[in-house]
C-alpha cells in the first residue's frame, strides 16, 4: 500500500515536472509546478514529516506560487511572442547535461540502496511534529532561524527598490 502511494505520488511529480518544461505558456508551467509541490507534500507525509508537508502546501503552493501567478498575469505576455526554447545547440546541451546529472546522482544513490541502512530506523510518533521542530528551531538552530528574518527583511527592501515605478525617465539605453 505504501509503495503504491509512493509510485503514484512520484509519477505525478515527475510527469508534472516534465510538463513544466514542455509547456510553452508560463501559466501552464506555474500550474504544473503546483502539482509537483502537492505530490512532494504526499511524499513528505510518507516520510513522517507532517510539519514540512503542511508548510509545503501553505507557503510554497499557497504563497510563492500565487506570487508567480500574479506576475504572469501582470506581465500579460503576448502569445507566441517568441519561441519557448533556446537555440538547438544549447537545447541539446541542456538535455545532455540534465541526463548526465540524473544518471550520476542515481549512481550515487545506488550506494545507499546496498548499504545496511536501507530499512531505516523506527521513529517515534512525535518525529517531525510541530512541537519537535519548534523546539529545535528555538534551541539548537536559534541563530540560523533569527538570520532568516534578516534575509526576509533584505528581500523586502530589495523588492521595493527594484519593482517600484520610478517617476524620472530611465537613462538612455545606448550607453555602451
Amino acid at each position: 500500500m505504501d509503495l503504491v502511494v509512493f509510485w503514484i505520488a512520484a509519477g505525478v511529480a515527475v510527469a508534472a515536472a516534465v510538463n513544466l518544461i514542455l509547456q510553452t505558456k508560463p501559466i501552464n508551467s506555474v500550474l504544473s509546478l503546483v502539482v509537483v509541490l502537492f505530490a512532494l507534500a504526499v511524499l513528505y507525509l510518507q516520510l513522517s514529516a507532517e510539519f514540512v508537508a503542511v508548510l509545503q502546501i501553505i507557503i510554497y503552493a499557497g504563497a510563492i506560487m500565487v506570487l508567480f501567478l500574479f506576475v504572469v498575469m501582470l506581465l500579460n505576455l503576448k502569445k507566441d511572442e517568441f519561441s519557448a526554447y533556446r537555440k538547438p545547440l544549447l537545447r541539446s546541451f541542456g538535455v545532455l547535461l540534465g541526463g548526465i546529472l540524473i544518471i550520476e546522482i542515481s549512481l550515487i544513490c545506488r550506494a545507499f540502496a546496498t548499504s545496511d541502512a536501507a530499512e531505516g530506523p523506527v521513529v517515534v510518533g512525535e518525529f517531525g511534529s510541530v512541537g519537535q521542530i519548534g523546539r529545535l528551531l528555538f534551541e539548537d538552530y536559534l541563530l540560523p532561524f533569527e538570520l532568516t528574518s534578516i534575509l526576509l527583511l533584505i528581500a523586502v527592501a530589495g523588492v521595493l527598490i527594484l519593482a517600484t515605478k520610478r517617476t524620472e525617465p530611465p537613462p538612455p539605453e545606448e550607453h555602451s
Binding site: K87, V95, I102, L136
Partner: protein, 100 residues
Amino acid sequence: MIPLSHYLLVSAVLFGLGTIGVVISRNLITILMSVELMLNAANLALISFARWHADPGGHVFVFIIFVVAAAEATVGLALVIAIFRRKNTVDVDGLNILKG
C-alpha cells in the same frame, strides 16, 4: 517500508529536470520556476535523509530553504518585472546589455 534509494531517485530526476529547464527555456519566469523545482528536489533528499537517520534537524534545514526560496522568488520576480518594464520582454536571448 520504501527504501531510501527510491526517494533519492525521485529527487535526482526532479533535480535533473530542473537543470534542463534552466538551460533550455527562454522565458525568465520558466527559468525561475525550474530553479524552484531544483530546490524542491534538494528538499526531498533532505527529508528522506532526516527520516533515515531519525534526525529532525533535516526538517529545520528544509524550513530554512523555504525562507530562502521565498526570498529568491520575490527578488527574482521583481527583477523580471523591472526587466519587462525596461525592455518590454522576458526573453533571455534579448537581454544582452551586459555583453559590451
